[in-house]
Amino acid sequence: MSSTLKSSPRKYRAFSPARVWALATNTVTQLVRMKILFLLLLFVVIVVAAAFAFPTRSPEQQLKLLKDVVFGALQVFSIVMAISATALLLPRDVEDRTLYTILSKPVPRHEYLVGKLLGVLLLIGGGLLFMDVFFSGVLWLKQTMITAANIEALKSEQSDTPENIAAVRALIAHQGLTWNLHAGVWCVFLKAAVVASLALLMSCIATSTLFTILVSFCFTIAGQGQGLLRSFVFKSLPVTWKKICSFVLALLLPDLGLFDQVQAVIEGNSIPLATLAETTGFAAAYVVLYAGVAHLIFSEKEL
């Protein structure tokens, strides 16, 4: 009777990178085809506008402004992507019942979660990489133009001594394209990764997309202020309700302020490699924690 059936069932593995990868790449395709990458186009417009449309000020100010606008845009985009992409995925799979078909395959639930998160991270990472490359190009162009203009000005004043030219170059280079900027972009990515895993957790608790987005945004903003809450908690004040609430919030939220070393990067400071590694460690710990809690909740979820 079952002669036409292959009698050897495929061996089942508890964790299969191939399955996770299939889920992740599917997530990327889904988001890309949802035209989420139009955000990148918007970014390009903003960068070009910031680079060439503002009134000419001192060279340092011009470069700083460009970096400010670009890093502002990078952060906003990566956070918006992290939250909306994550929130669009899981609740939508539940609402559309696509989750039934996926989980009725031999896919453990944790793989589904890991696959989705990985997909979002791949998308954000790819987006940031593109933005980094584009922005670096524009910054370099701008920097070259400013340097040339300033050396030209020195020449016209007949004070183009090697010493002066070197001073101009050094000043502009300090505010221009450096490796630090990439470290800054990495920090932006880390923050977005933490926010994405937080949004994943939220979407496991709630099933509606809108709710997930709203709560994730609130938590992200509160996470930015977690440092303030914490220092309030650590101050030796009498224990009040306010203090207890702050404590609970500080306990739950990630300190997203840790990733704002970006600000120092814009000012031209450099992040030591060890600090960068430690920051990455914090981000990884947050991601693992939130994904782990998300799994505990999701594995129990009635679909």
Partner: protein, 296 residues
């Protein structure tokens, strides 16, 4: 017949076994808990087509979701080919077509099948061949490179069937496979089920359309309000033991009068009805309408 069932049970493990299943949905925020399935038990032998019949809301889909591990039983258990439904491994042998299936709109039919194939551990040329074979089987070849977002209801059901079959499962669980599909489409799905049945695949199918179930099921269970109310072979359930149907072609009015006369004097038997036989509405529809051929 009961003997037969027992025999096949002892020969090979049961394809599906649901034992004393009760599923209670905890009411969210103050709503009353709802018992969707009560003390339900049934078995399906390998190679059998088993139909779960019942009105909407009687717990058919809930039962299927428990069989697939999508829901956890409150009491009792379900197992597939000897594996508990809770275990992910049990899903290796099962293909599922959910009620009103819905797939990622952004993928084409072929991409959808490949995606699900990868989830089942397929890859490389095996996966490509398998996906193409399934597109062939379900008649979606010409629509394979269109996005699923543009598929009609019937095509969605068929791509759903194709993804359920992608990993060559031994058991197919189909939840309302013909709901919302026009008669041509539902006839096609029915033929497909019969074809797969001939290949030895076991089925659990739900529907509230009895006529369709009649044509494919070996055995049916009738559910009502979460309970199994009748279960058995289809003919046994629907045949009326003490009635006999006679269909005569080309009889004259005199002949019919004679037939009537035979029973007029009889004390025990009497004619319940006499008239022109009616084809089923479904058959009539199929004969008079043109197939839309939505895959072309």
């Amino acid at each position: 017949m009961i003997e037969e069932k027992k025999q096949s049970k002892s020969e090979s493990p049961k394809a599906v076994s649901v034992e004393n299943l009760t599923k209670i949905f905890q009411g969210a925020m103050g709503r009353k808990p709802l018992t969707a399935v009560r003390e339900l038990s049934f078995n399906v032998a390998p190679g059998e087509v088993y139909g779960l019949i019942g009105p909407n809301g009687c717990g058919k889909s809930t039962t299927m979701k428990v069989m697939l591990g999508l829901l956890k039983p409150t009491v009792g258990s379900a197992s597939v080919f000897g594996h508990d439904s809770d275990a992910v491994a049990s899903r290796h042998d099962v293909g599922f077509l959910p009620e009103n299936p819905y797939f990622y709109k952004h993928l084409t039919g072929r991409e959808t099948l490949r995606f699900f194939g990868k989830l089942c551990g397929l890859g490389g040329s095996e996966l490509r061949d398998r996906a193409d074979a399934m597109l062939d089987l379900t008649g979606l070849k010409n629509a394979a490179d269109r996005r699923v977002g543009g598929y009609s209801k019937g095509m969605l059901q068929r791509i759903g069937l194709a993804q359920a079959l992608i990993h060559e499962p031994r058991l197919l669980i189909l939840d309302e496979p013909t709901a919302g599909v026009d008669p041509a489409g539902s006839r096609r799905i029915r033929d497909l089920i019969l074809e797969l049945k001939a290949r030895g695949i076991t089925f659990v199918v739900t529907s509230h359309l009895l006529e369709q179930m009649q044509e494919v099921c070996d055995r049916v269970g009738i559910m009502s309000q979460g309970r199994m109310v009748r279960e058995g072979r289809l003919e046994d359930l629907i045949s009326v033991e003490n009635q006999t149907e006679i269909i005569i072609e080309g009889a004259s009015a005199e002949q019919l009068a004679q037939v009537r006369a035979i029973f007029a004097g009889s004390s025990g038997a009497k004619i319940m009805s006499l008239g022109k036989p009616r084809t089923t509405l479904e058959r009539l529809f199929l004969e008079t309408t043109v197939q839309t051929g939505d895959e072309e």
